[in-house]
């Protein structure tokens, strides 16, 4: 369970999030316009940005958690991954999620390697094992990022616009993966993809004017969409089921 207590975020003198309090009991979908602070909220939960207020995970203040302990609890999947090391292989990349579990200065254990290998098998990605991460397509990269999060065995997984760069078919594959993860993980999904959001069917947190509006359910109707996005919707088109 994640608790946000009067969370505020500023970049310079610009306020991004203002005094947000929220209890995330299980899953959450975060919606909002570009620049509304969705990613900032996610990064605050991971303690990647400076913030005022308190973020607690299962009762523990995130600021008091050691780097490695935090890594064991939360995974954050970015929209895009810049890879400087062009020769980093997929198998090496997913193994990096075991960093928090291995002893300092030593190599990854066989147990770690086994978990990485099995996770890739489970997601049917074994054929990518020996390929450089930088050579993958956007769809494959997103799948490998999911694999990497699973290898970390964290309870909470945050997806930051997972379908932003994907074609409809890959979006569907990713959507189904994310939904299946809801059973064992707490999923926080940030997205502009309303088809995805309604398919994932978690409570919605809509950020507008630096404040959040929480909907336990029933967010996806035309009045709400019109009110919050300020555009007319007819119907959502892509079917993920």
């Amino acid at each position: 369970m994640i608790e946000l207590d009067s969370l505020s975020c500023h970049y310079g003198d610009k306020t991004i999030l203002n005094n947000i309090s929220l209890k995330i009991t299980n899953h959450l979908t975060v919606l909002g316009a570009n620049g509304s602070g969705k990613s900032t909220l996610a990064k605050a939960i991971c303690s990647l940005v400076e913030f005022d207020g308190i973020v607690k995970i299962d009762g523990n203040d995130i600021k008091n958690l050691a780097f490695k302990d935090r890594a064991k609890i939360i995974s954050y999947i970015p929209t895009k991954l810049e890879v400087y090391d062009r020769y980093l292989l997929v198998e090496e990349f997913v193994l990096l999620s075991r960093f928090a579990y291995k002893s300092s200065f030593f190599d990854y254990s066989n147990e770690d390697k086994k978990i990485a290998k099995e996770t890739l098998e489970f997601l049917e990605l074994s054929y990518l094992l020996k390929q450089p991460l930088s050579s993958l397509s956007s769809g494959e990269t997103q799948l490998v990022l999911i694999a990497q999060a699973l290898v970390g065995q964290s309870k909470i997984i945050i997806f930051d616009e997972p379908t932003a760069n994907l074609d409809p078919k890959n979006s569907k594959i990713i959507a189904q993966r994310i939904k299946s993860l809801k059973e064992y993980h707490e999923i926080i999904l940030i997205t502009h993809d309303l088809n995805l959001a309604s398919y994932i069917d978690s409570p919605v947190f809509f950020i507008k004017d630096r404040k959040g509006n929480y909907f336990e359910n029933d967010f996806f109707n035309e009045e709400n969409l019109k009110e919050f996005y300020e555009v007319e919707f007819n119907s959502l088109v892509l079917v993920y089921d």
Binding site: D69, L81, E82, V83, Y84, D85, R86, Y87, F105, G152
Partner: protein, 320 residues
């Protein structure tokens, strides 16, 4: 095949290197310890090859380190002004007269270290104000600082007397010439420390090469790791520069060549970079010593002639 060829060539040069130079050695006299030949061989040539090897390792490893920490192939202690900072530190020490003292070496090294360290801190401090997060801005910042340090060195020239200036000019041209084993052994220790540190932090470095954000998310105390590695690199660079003066482009050329030769992730390139860098600088130095001129060609000229074209190529190829 090409790997075997390149390694054999470099190793061959390493073996013949001590026998080449401005003074021709009579092979029969090498183990005849009273002769000049033996003296030159064991107290000048061998230490020099040894020194060049570890200098090359340090330059290559720190280039490799900077490139992965800052995620840009153009980042090296030389291009980011860390070398110039060390040179300025040593310049100040020479101006203050420490260079002429008997224990001069260690004082110069200390000044070189602090010069390098202060330039690293200044660079990091200024970098946090960069609005533009593109790494090219950091490079420009480094180049600007480098120009500043060079200008400051000019002031020291202007203030110095002719003896100090003579030492300074020779120093800034860069030279791998050493007498005896003290400096080579000191440098081998520095190279060893740098290598071990990078190796110990190889997985942290792999994560940092993705992004600082990814590293933090996976449990790396990114600030601490970056700072520790940069301080250790500054120490190695500072000590090296205080003895040899600035030697450019090795840190740029060698990691690039090694990644072409071994397209493997960074974890598997650390040792190869150190070894290749050592052999590469020994080869450059052998070229510098073998070209028959009045004396020998300054090593910086040889490395620049090889390095600048590659530097330009890397800048152009990055624009795609």
């Amino acid at each position: 095949m090409i790997r075997i060829f390149i390694w054999s060539l470099l190793s061959f040069v390493l073996i013949i290197s001590p026998f080449l130079g401005s003074v021709h050695l009579n092979l029969a006299d090498i183990f005849n310890y009273d002769t000049l030949t033996s003296n030159i061989f064991f107290n000048l040539r061998l230490p020099r090859v040894f020194f060049a090897f570890f200098a090359g390792s340090i330059l290559s490893l720190s280039g490799f380190l900077f490139q992965n920490i800052f995620r840009n192939t153009l980042m090296t202690p030389y291009t980011l002004g860390i070398s110039s900072g060390a040179v300025l530190g040593v310049g100040i020490a020479i101006k203050l007269g420490f260079g002429i003292l008997a224990f001069g070496i260690s004082t110069l090294s200390a000044f070189g270290f602090f010069g390098a360290l202060l330039s690293v801190f200044l660079l990091i401090y200024l970098a946090q104000f960069l609005k533009n997060t593109h790494q090219e801005s950091l490079l420009l910042l480094g180049i600007a600082l480098s120009l500043f340090y060079s200008s400051a060195l000019m002031v020291i020239f202007y203030l110095g007397n002719s003896i100090q200036n003579d030492i300074l000019i020779r120093f800034t041209m860069g030279s791998l010439s050493v007498i005896g084993w003290q400096n080579p052994l000191l440098l081998s220790l520095m190279a060893f420390i740098l290598f071990v540190s990078i190796y110990m932090y190889r997985f942290e470095l792999q994560l940092l090469a993705l992004s600082e954000e990814q590293a933090k998310l996976k449990g790396v105390d990114a600030k601490k790791v970056i700072l520790s590695l940069l301080i250790i690199a500054s120490l190695a660079i500072g000590v090296l520069v205080s003895i040899s003066g600035p030697i450019g482009f090795i840190g740029l050329v060698v990691p690039h060549l090694v990644s072409k030769l071994y397209p493997l992730s960074i974890e598997h390139r650390i040792f190869k970079t150190a070894l290749f860098g050592g052999l590469f600088l020994v080869s450059c130095d052998t070229i510098a010593r073998s070209i028959q001129t009045q004396g020998e060609l300054p090593i910086g000229i040889v490395t620049a002639l090889i390095g600048v074209p590659l530097f330009i190529y890397l800048i152009i190829s990055k624009q795609g």
